[in-house]
Symmetry: C2
Subunit: 408 residues, 2 copies
């Protein structure tokens, strides 16, 4: 099964907006056995869209477009598609009802332009867009299918699972797809690949293991694809994989480190605070980006200046002077101080050299001490992270969060 | 002048990596008068690359490829380009020296694969890649030009200005390009466009004003393009624009709000702390993402729980109970407390409802109080920001930072 993607929109072509839709589509379809043949980006231009659609239809079984629709752009894309697939504009009462519903939800007034979205080519089926006003159109010609997704990433990502399910039903109705994501930490990708080499080589046909390395942890995704008989094989492989991972497995499922930590804290009835030097508030930011965090997250002290480490967290000025701010003594006192000052049961603390300046031979850029305090018990570890300032901050953030998981 | 871009790489096609190179190229070339005709993404596949290059050469004067080079991928792309432009592989001693230099800088060992990067087609000129090992190749045929940029965004973005200058010299040696960016805050894009309507309509040929709205502020970019006579016209337009903006202009140049604030604080000899509730450490994170911030940034308290507002920042528990945490009284005490507890001369404080839960009729989601303390003088304002949790957090961050600028 071959899939070709077309991104329509001047805003992408001139670099004003970065396309993320093609990646979302590829990640949804690829693991199910679709070969992505090409991605073409064209402007809101009739000739360019026509050429791209015809070329894509000649290459692939399924063509997915994103963008090029919406109240001010509709005309070009719809007209091109009617030139290719036939039909004429008709008023679709279900689309009209959906547009009205979306506008009511957003407290906006309908105007003539938005009502024009309810006009769709008679040659297509419509999948209602539950996340926006541009209808998703499904055209067929000589066994080839073209589906139009909206340009807004929020809408495309929201509707992707439904469109994907419809296309699997259309092209491979007997295929079963199974996925399982596991979060692994505390090992490099190459060491993990070595450890899982015999597991991987013994995997039955239709079952595949993918490594998705992140900054400080690795996502493993087990994909199964086949007839009904794939299910028991997949479950057996999954159990075997979990057994092989042992302590390296930090979470069974797909979530960010901050989400995993919040879920675990909630299960345990714990609360959390952070004391951050080199991560500069990034751990707090990651936690507070998650809605509803306030039942377990109490607060943080970002202690960049040494005086703030002493004044707000109670770190010994003598230890800072003697051992340096980037040291076991300081990061452990920061973690303990965060618990004490906020009343939290757990804390993560960081002190390190994010660079590019500030390093020396004994403590080069990338040196980071991370401390954890859980119910008064304090531990810490020294790390050496590669990369630039942003990567070191991100890595210390993820390692700090995942390190807490092992201790609660 | 027409430009076509080709992104080469399986990792982009399958959605493992998001392409940002095409946007960087388009933003560099577009304002100089280049029309971007198309962006094509293809895998590391000989036939697909060949077809994409031939099609791009038929459409455009200049074709820029990114990716498809590097020690393990070289063969395909170089062979395709020699099929099209002729030539044979030759050893380039300057490229070899550059590869060795890059490896020495990174303390890596050369191997045979990396040495193969020094083999380049005899039919191309080479622009030395100062940011990586893959040489930038410049091919010409019948007045058309093809240039290969590396796939790694850091390398492509680093080399873009030099490649752009070479292409302007090649295609439009007599054209002068002028740019000026101004940061504007405290007005909506549509109100600003109305205010500048007569200025814009009176701009001479070759001078163009672009609006680049961000979350909480607007970047204005004035572009000039023409012969030498464009310079005085451009400078006159720039002065007129600055006069029209008045107090709305917060910075003459291109920088992020955090960068602008740090620069201003440094000029004034001031220091900064933050006290964050709804922004959850994001202001601290933005500031500490900037290398060298420690001379002006002292630290922050993220006071999510009310007890932390009182305990670490000295906010009156009575005021929190009576007026609510999202109130003028509380945010002003947070700002004053941040200065007092850290010793900073300035502070930004936020307290609001980022959602999606927690809102009510009196204080709906998006309500944010922002407070500023400068040398003991405290001010605050109430805002209502649209959008989801992430956008509200980002907006409060930028408005909090830019609001400080007006007060120091």
């Amino acid at each position: 099964m071959r899939l070709s993607i077309i991104i329509i929109g001047d805003e992408i072509l001139i670099g004003q907006v970065t396309d993320t839709n093609s990646g979302a589509i590829a990640r949804q379809f690829g693991p199910a056995g679709w070969e992505i043949t090409s991605i073409a980006t064209v402007g809101d231009d009739r000739a360019a869209i026509t050429e791209a659609v015809n070329r894509a239809l000649s290459q692939a079984d399924l063509v997915i477009t994103t963008g090029g629709l919406g109240p001010t752009k509709d005309d070009i894309t719809k007209t091109v598609l009617m030139d290719i697939f036939g039909g004429e504009l008709r008023h679709d009462p279900e689309v009209a009802a959906n547009v009205r519903l979306i506008f009511e939800k957003r407290h906006l007034n309908l105007n003539a332009l938005t009502e024009s979205q309810a006009m769709v080519p008679s040659s297509c089926r419509v999948i209602q867009n539950r996340f926006g006003t541009a209808p998703i159109m499904w055209f067929e010609r000589e066994g080839k299918v073209l589906v139009t997704l909206p340009g807004v990433p929020f809408e495309t990502e929201g509707m992707l699972p439904e469109v994907f399910a419809a296309m699997m039903q259309r092209f491979a109705p007997d295929i079963r797809l199974l996925h399982s994501t596991l979060i692994v930490s505390g090992i490099t990708e190459s060491d993990l690949a070595e450890r899982l080499a015999s597991f991987e080589s013994a995997l039955p046909t239709g079952i595949h293991l993918a490594y998705l390395p992140a900054n400080g942890f690795i996502r493993l995704r087990l994909d199964g694809r086949g007839s009904d008989s794939i299910e028991p094989l997949f479950q057996a492989a999954r159990q075997q994989l979990i057994a092989s991972l042992g302590d390296l497995l930090v979470y069974d499922g797909n979530a960010t480190p901050a989400e995993i930590v919040l879920e675990r804290l909630r299960q345990r009835g714990f609360t959390i605070a952070t004391a951050e030097s080199c991560t500069g508030g990034n751990i707090a930011h990651r936690i507070t980006s998650i809605a509803g965090c306030s039942d377990v997250y109490l607060g943080s002290v970002v202690s960049y200046a040494n005086e703030v480490k002493s004044g707000l967290l109670g770190v010994s000025a003598f230890d800072i002077a003697r051992q340096g701010a980037v040291s076991r003594a300081v990061v452990e006192q920061m973690a303990a101080g965060a618990c004490q000052k906020t009343g939290a049961t757990c804390a993560v603390a960081t002190s390190g050299i994010a660079g590019p300046g500030g390093g020396n031979a004994a403590k080069p850029v990338g040196t980071v001490w991370i401390g954890w305090c859980v119910n008064g018990h304090v531990e810490s570890e020294e790390f050496h992270f590669p990369g630039n300032r942003a990567r070191i901050i991100d890595r210390a953030t993820d390692v700090g969060l995942l390190g807490l998981l092992k201790r609660i």
